[in-house]
């Protein structure tokens, strides 16, 4: 059982739910107002839909048959494998979200080619309990892969939205599949999907730590540093094409900026003492970070174009781990000025920080949700460190995880899922959890490698 503190739960607010959906047989039992712009987004269609403003996560049964493979002339080819692979990627994405329950292909009564040619036999999909069904086709056009897909409401017997076409270079076929998964997620939840995104992290095998990156589903892993130096805390830029990270390659902890497009890496200043905890401003123009050159660790903001440095905090305690509000107006950070590490919020223009956490003896490593409504952080107490969320005012704290040493929370681009690292013994792995506290999943970094310090990218489109 997950730790979900009931005090945090608020009733579904004034957004005014859609009409009662008789066909939506979801047994939703925790009302948790987390959706933004979900209810009443103007969709004319009022059929099958997941209400993800509610917790409990009773997933929606969905059928995702193999996409058919088409020849250049549009004929169905029996031989292709791409269509099946694409539907497998979509299936895995949706299943992992915890909001969908893909039905096993072996249960399907209608074959993909007749589904594609004639549309769904809705009665056959109803029989196996599917509430939504997809139909899709894939073909090659030169070095491009082109995917067409349709989504149907099984009980109303209608299309959900229009058919849609995606294409990409063939070697990026997984990206096309993730686009389809995002589209399904959006049409059935009302929220933006997050499957076309990446994770930067630190991978460790033996003593060597390297900066690495992979797709959010663990595919396409790539190592970005050589492993000669200790490296820590990669952080995606808001447009997803750069990383800040820490490296000891000069012999001291320094911040580097890695260009993901050409692989080059550059030192971001060489201030005496500790240079750590880089965080991009949402507009990408500034970096908040920690320097100890004034005698103890303080928060600074650096304008990247000019190099102009502004000291933000002034206290003899430790101030570190800044994170920006999505509007760029505020910073949250942790400080032990009150005797133990606690979270503080201050204006990005400067001023007096305001303490926002009062429960527990250790609240640190805050990460402001891209939706702005919550801050995720590490909550310590009783010798354990767990992932928690609270509002930017520090209200409604909920502890989401239940382990010994969880840290480094980072948000999915839609502010729905939190990725973090978990240490068990001497091993560290990445995990994701829905912000309701359900659906905790291991996110494999492959083989016998350790993973830590995750940073979730924005949508990569």
């Amino acid at each position: 059982m997950k730790m979900v503190l009931m005090t945090c739960l608020r009733p579904v607010g004034s957004a005014g739910g859609p009409p009662v959906r008789a066909m939506l047989r979801l047994h939703l039992w925790l009302a948790l107002l987390v959706g933004i712009g979900l209810l009443g987004n103007g969709s004319a269609w009022a059929g099958v839909r997941i209400d993800i403003t509610k917790g409990g996560l009773s997933p929606l049964p969905i059928a995702i048959p193999a996409f058919v493979n088409l020849s250049g002339a549009g004929q169905i080819q029996e031989s292709g494998v791409m269509g099946s692979q694409i539907s497998e990627v979509i299936t895995a994405d949706l299943e992992r979200s915890g909001l969908f329950r893909p039905i096993s292909r072996s249960a399907f009564l209608q074959m993909p080619d007749t589904l594609w040619r004639t549309g769904p036999q809705f009665r056959e999909w109803r029989l196996i309990g599917a509430e939504a069904v997809t139909s899709g086709a894939v073909r090659q056009e030169g070095d491009q892969v082109v995917v067409d897909f349709f989504l149907y409401d099984v009980f109303q017997g209608t299309l959900i939205g229009k058919g849609k076409r995606f294409s990409a270079s063939s070697r990026n076929w997984r990206h096309v599949a993730h686009r389809v998964a995002d589209e399904i997620y959006t049409r059935l939840t009302g929220e933006t999907g997050y499957f076309t995104s990446r994770i930067a992290y630190v991978t460790q095998k033996g003593e060597n730590k390297k900066i690495a990156m992979m797709d959010q589903d663990g595919a396409n892993r790539i190592e970005l540093t050589q492993g000669n130096n200790l490296v820590l805390t990669p952080r995606f830029s808001p447009n997803g094409d750069h990383l800040f990270y820490m490296s000891y390659e000069t012999g001291a902890p320094r911040i580097f900026r890695l260009d993901l497009l050409n692989g080059s890496s550059h030192l971001q200043g060489d201030y005496p003492g500790l240079n750590s905890a880089p965080s991009w401003s949402p507009d990408g123009s500034r970096m908040a970070f920690t320097l100890s050159m004034d005698g103890n660790p303080e928060i600074y903001v650096k304008t990247l174009s000019s190099g102009h440095l502004t000291r933000m905090t002034n206290h003899t305690a430790i101030d570190t781990s800044p994170s920006w509000s999505p509007d760029g107006q505020k910073l949250v950070f942790n400080s032990d000025r009150a005797g133990s590490p606690q979270l503080y919020v201050m204006s990005a223009a400067g001023g007096e920080p305001k303490r926002i956490t009062f429960e527990g003896t250790y609240n640190a490593a805050p990460s402001w949700s891209p939706r702005g409504d919550l801050i995720a952080f590490v909550h310590g107490g009783g010798g354990r460190f767990r992932i928690a969320v609270a509002t930017p005012e520090g209200k409604n704290m909920r502890v989401l995880t239940d382990s010994w040493m969880d840290e480094s929370p980072t948000w999915s681009p839609n502010g729905r899922v939190i990725l973090f690292s978990r240490q068990k013994g001497s091993q560290s792995q990445l995990y994701s959890i829905d912000l309701t506290g359900y659906n905790e999943r291991l996110v494999s970094v492959g083989g016998d490698s350790d993973g830590s310090d995750p940073s979730w990218s924005p949508l990569i489109r």
């Binding site: 200790l230 003492g273 500790l274 103890n296 570190t320 942790n334 640190a364 310590g380 840290e407």
Partner: protein, 180 residues
Amino acid sequence: MKRFGWLAVVLLSLGLLSGCGSTPKGGADDQAGADGSGGRGVGRLGGSSSSLDDPSRRGGAGAYRYDVNVEPEHRVYFDYNSALINDKSAQVLAHNAGWILAHRPKVQITIEGHCDERGTREFNLALGQQRADAVVRFLVGQGMEAGRLKAVSYGKERPLVPSHDDSAWSKNRRGEIVLR
């Protein structure tokens, strides 16, 4: 609080070198600096007027007693979530300062700050920096040149003991004096 506690320890130790064999220059300066300090043990320091050029002299009359010809452990330990130099660590650091000044007068020295594995990576990097900086300040207070000392935090990245209990943690919360 932290600052004053540290200051008292430094003041305590200032006269020490005069009693335990240091470079004449540093020793003379430090002895002068001890005058008027109100910390415990200061009175006893006044009686320590042994010859500064005798590195073999065993111990001093002050708070810190050590044999300057015995190489000290180049490592000190800290309390949980603290960068304060405790009495035990002050003793070891004083011994290090005396020994280094006597036997390694030229080498560059890196002071590494380390933490146990509990808590966040970034907070521990900051805490490790505070520990390393505290050691540097203490050693400078013992007469070492600041220019020879460089503080580097490794946070919780380099545990000395790779297990996960109080015993391991107490050894991992440390400052390391690395002679190059």
